[in-house]
Amino acid sequence: MKLSKVLIGIAIISSLVMAKENNKISIEGSTTVLPIAQIAAEEYMMANPDVDITVRGGGSGVGIASLIEGTCDIADASRSMKDKEMKTAVNKGVNPVAHVVAMDGIAVVIHPSNKLKEISKEQLKAIYTGKYSNWSKLGGAKKKIIVISRDSASGTYEAFSKLTLGGERVRPDALLSASNRAVVTTVENTPGAIGYVGLGYITEKVKAIDVDGIQCTKESILSGEYPLSRPLFMYTNGNPRGQVKTFLDFVKSKEGQKLVEESGYVGLK
């Protein structure tokens, strides 16, 4: 009797494993895209219980490398592929196809009591690299600028630094907050503060200012007009087929884009 139970167990497990073998999707890459991939995967698996999706972070570079090595089906990336990566891919017979799944926009926020209405990218860079330390440099009151940044491993930080700092280091005395929410709370309570957050995190208690004369809105981010915006990608090897294709279609669908908005990014629809 015992033996038969064991045999049945083995049969069930192996059938499960075999069934899932064809319905496995592995996603790897950018931590910025990670929340989108994660929530989309959860929803997708809820609707299709026989599909098994694994989602891992690691960074855009790691994801793309895995795609080239063939160890993942979808590579998340918060930037387009570098020429070098493209060359390696072609040499290995991999044909990366980019799918834009969302737009990422970063708003610059200050305390509402601050009179400043707009800032240029150069001024932002000067503040964040330590050249400007007083609001009087920007025509404001004589007050110390409290610079708030994100932890240097976060995706928002990565995007901000790429879009404004051009590889230069953030001043060492910048406050490094652990989340978008923490940045907003600190700016709300600190008259001299400046910070940056994803569009979805702006509250009434902080003031989002224009960058290079362009307001941070969903539309200006979608059109790419707003300077601190960028597309977020999912890369596949060749045109997607089977489950990978249905999953990507789901992410790009109206339903999927709603999840994108829930994760704090700008949906394409």
């Binding site: 409290i146 491993a153 990565e158 060492p172 490094l176 652990a178 309570n189 600190t190 001299g192």
Partner: protein
Amino acid sequence: MRRIFCRASTNTMKFKTENIIKSVFGLLAFSSLLFLLGIIVILFKEGLPVFKYVKLFEFIGGKFWYPTYDPPAFGILPLILGTFWVTIGAMLIAVPLGIGSALYLHEIAGYRERAFLKPIIELLAGIPSIVYGFFGMVILAPFLQRLLHIPIGLCLFTASFILGIMAVPTVSSLAEDALDYVPESFREASFALGANRWQTLVKVVIPAAGSGISTAIILGVSRIVGETMTVLMVAGGAAVIPKSLFEPVRPMTANIAAEMGEAVVGSAHYHALFGIGLILFLITLIFNMIAEMIGRRYRLKLGHGR
């Protein structure tokens, strides 16, 4: 023949169950040793590779922490000093409050006051650290910022203040235990010699409990050094060497908590975070060893044996 066998078997049964219970409890007791060993092995295994990327001196003495840049900078001196100053500040609050309340509770307070105060102090220990952090971030920091006209409320001072309050129950209850160890005969002898309550307290009880109280302080330090969530939320998080009380700092624990989730496994950054963990571990280990040594000596001195 059978009867004898039976009796023997009940005896062995008894012996067996006793042995089983013994080994089960022994296993439970040793399991924590196992966990500790596992943690140490992992800390060394994952932490030591950081020295492939930086030299020990550059790691501990470096002033810049830019783990994700190219080339990265792995200098944790600002983080070590952040932890150091926050701890000093917190102890300035926790020691007088903790020891003062222990002295009051144990030596002066009447039964009813003790029954009322002791659970309250113990309740402080039960509040989750994230609640302290939230309180500090949303209420205390903005309040201090307006009150003292400082640029930002999330700073060394706020972090020290909150951590100090958090360590009060640890220091207080351990110091009370130390006072408990002082034999009643010491007090009686002092009173018999005509000393009043104050003199007895200052000249007899406190010196007798001295090393126990220092153990309480050292364990309080360990508690503060290891505290993570609160400092992550209220210390500000700037990896600079603080020049004043009102500058933001980034203690080691906060740094690990903030960055571990997004560090690529196996990268230099990942190993550097484990390296910080290793140093933290060594610091608390040393403190706990000192506390244990002092505690043992003092129990012998008071004639309690080991």
